[in-house]
Amino acid sequence: MSSHQGAAGVQEPLEVFRVLRDDGTLDPEHDPGLTTEEVVEIYRGLVLTRTLDQRLTALQRQGRIGFHVGSLGEEAAILGSTYAMRDTDWIFPCYREFGSALMRGLSLQKFLDNMFGNANDTVKGRQMPDHYTCREKRWGSISSPVGTQITQAVGFAWAAKIDGKDIATLTYFGDGATSSPEFHSGMNFAGVFKVPTVFFCRNNGWAISVPTERQTASATFAQKADAYGVVGVRVDGNDLFAVIAATRQAVERAARGEGPTLIEALTYRMGGHSTSDDPLRYRGDEQLEPWAARDPIERVRHHLTRLGAWDDEREAACIADVDARFKQAVAVAEQTPPPPLESMFEDVYESPPWHLVEQREQLIQGPRAPKSH
């Protein structure tokens, strides 16, 4: 999969960690040892994530929501890593991990309330779709500026360490974000202070239209860990079991006080960057073929089918269930009114100073904006 080969290629690329074999069996040496029921549960999450992606993209095309940034092809990397974290650990997301939030317990309704930016949205209609928050489930607040969550995840875990608590953080970011100063500062701080953070790089081949070769001349992203005195591993990001095993090892290392790990998950962005992007302008569909053949969800289905734990009937029922819940949640979200005008002035400060009180009155007393623009 040549798009992952760096330009220079002088260093020997790290080996790619795999567990799930092409025949659907697991490498017994690295099998993370999940029960079949547990795998089925995660599989349902994978199907949920992908089905939602498709349905949300359709809603955007119909003009019912403004935007969606999906995770087509990256589901196993996202759900596997979140699954491997302990409930007591905290997640510092990028913007492409709604599957992680749902797995942690963000309700489908709350997620859709955010997609519609309505009065029940956890972020009160202040941010774009896919920028929700879920503190209750130890799941962070999403920011668009690339990379900013990385140093914050380090600070949070470092604070827990100072406080003597066994808490790790997992932070998600893309291949593009490895070029941001936040990645380098985060890795450096975590290395110096042996901070219990798992740096999870979704190497999906692209930063909008810019391919990975433009982000680094290193043969791999994982090897950047070396320069910071951090452990680096490469994992097949389309192998659910390898992602779980590698992330668990990283958490265990963190819990033993051995500090951070950088995981580079090799995966592929099968869709556009977001609904605003047309990938055909910069890549051909043929580039997707090798990755389609290694689809992360189909590989788990193959594994489960072999065990007799899944079949077409259950698949159809699972998707029908997602669709029914989705329809219901969309109906509620669409009928929920927008946030009230005064909400614009809340949470700027803990309580509004005089000038915001004055401006709030001006807005409320003033004329209303035209509905559309």
């Binding site: 927008p338 700027v348 623009h373």
Partner: protein
């Protein structure tokens, strides 16, 4: 004359500059093969190749810092920051390096370039794809700040900015990227920096606006006219150094001033304009100046049209100032 929207006009200006001068290079995120997320650099990669139209790693500080070095060498870099909201990792390079180079090196290293970046709200972009941060740059000595409102000015101002010996931050109001259509001459022409345009003449109230809000100011002024209030609407075009003469000439005539901008009110560019007018034309004023601006909150998503200083908020301000 060809009809162009602002995206096409800026694209045309870049092409003109690159054809006449091999030293001009573009760099930024997604500016190359895909031609920019707003298609402003479309076709330039194909015409000028990847050594002059450069997709960079994702680092705004890297983009501007490297552009400073390129400029010191003698190239004419035109870096793009994909959204003004993402300019902050480059703020250090812009404020402490680019803007101060000439001064701090005793004139030995004058560094100039044009930094292009889309600004503003009204595209359902929420906090991080809507901000209008001109106030953070107008206050930086050594930096010029430009913002066109239409296609003709966009091309002419950009060509002036590229030829200018000082660094220029060139804001592109993305809400009207495609809507602001008009006749644009082929080839070379310039619109001078630091020259405002009186786009509607009137004797009662001076309205200062720029970028996408110019159209809102014009809409409100047309409605005010129906109520007998005649606005003089000025498109500032260059925010700094601002065309003070045009502003004063108008205020001395009308005695009344309304300023419109999208950015939050407090510490906003409007405050500077009010100060200037008070310092230089206080005794001509017949009413307190009024600012119609974004509120002092982060830019919201669902309520964006309520947040922005659109025509429905400008009109009452104009009438109030006219009747005060």
């Amino acid at each position: 004359m060809p009809q162009m929207n602002m995206v096409q006009a800026i694209n045309d200006a870049l092409r003109v500059a690159m054809r006449r001068d091999k030293r001009v290079v573009l760099l930024g995120e997604d500016v190359g093969k895909v031609g920019g997320v707003f298609r402003v650099t479309a076709g330039l990669f194909d015409e000028f190749g990847d050594a002059r139209v450069i997709d960079t790693p994702l680092s705004e500080g890297g983009i501007i810092g490297a552009a400073v070095g390129m400029a010191m060498y003698g190239l004419v870099p035109i870096p793009e920051i994909q959204f003004a909201d993402f300019i902050w990792p480059a703020y250090d390079q812009i404020v402490n390096e680019l803007a101060k180079y000439r001064y701090r090196s005793g004139g030995e290293y004058p560094v100039s370039m044009v930094i292009r970046t889309p600004v503003g709200g009204g595209i359902r972009g929420g906090h991080y794809h809507s901000q209008h941060p001109e106030a953070h740059f107008v206050c930086v000595p050594g930096l010029k700040v430009v913002i066109p409102s239409n296609a003709y000015d966009a091309k002419g101002l950009l060509l002036s900015a590229i030829a200018d010996p000082d660094p220029v931050l060139f804001f592109e109001p993305k809400r009207v990227y495609r809507a602001a259509k008009g006749e644009v001459p082929e080839g070379e022409y310039t619109v001078p920096l630091s020259s405002a345009a009186v786009v509607r003449a009137g004797d009662d109230v001076t309205v200062l606006a720029y970028g996408a809000m110019l159209y809102e100011a014009l809409d409100a002024s047309a409605k005010a006219q129906q109520q007998g209030v005649h606005c003089e609407v000025i498109d500032l075009r260059t925010l700094w150094p601002v065309d003070i003469d045009t502003i004063l000439r108008s205020v001395e005539k009308t005695g009344r001033l309304v300023i419109v901008h999208e950015a939050p009110r407090t510490g906003g560019y409007g405050a500077e304009l009010v100060s200037l007018v008070c310092e230089k034309a206080f005794y001509h004023l017949q009413a307190p100046p009024v600012r119609v601006t974004g509120f002092d909150t982060p830019f919201p998503y669902t309520l964006e049209t309520e947040y922005m200083p659109l025509s429905h908020r400008i009109l009452p301000a104009v009438l109030q100032v006219a009747r005060a």
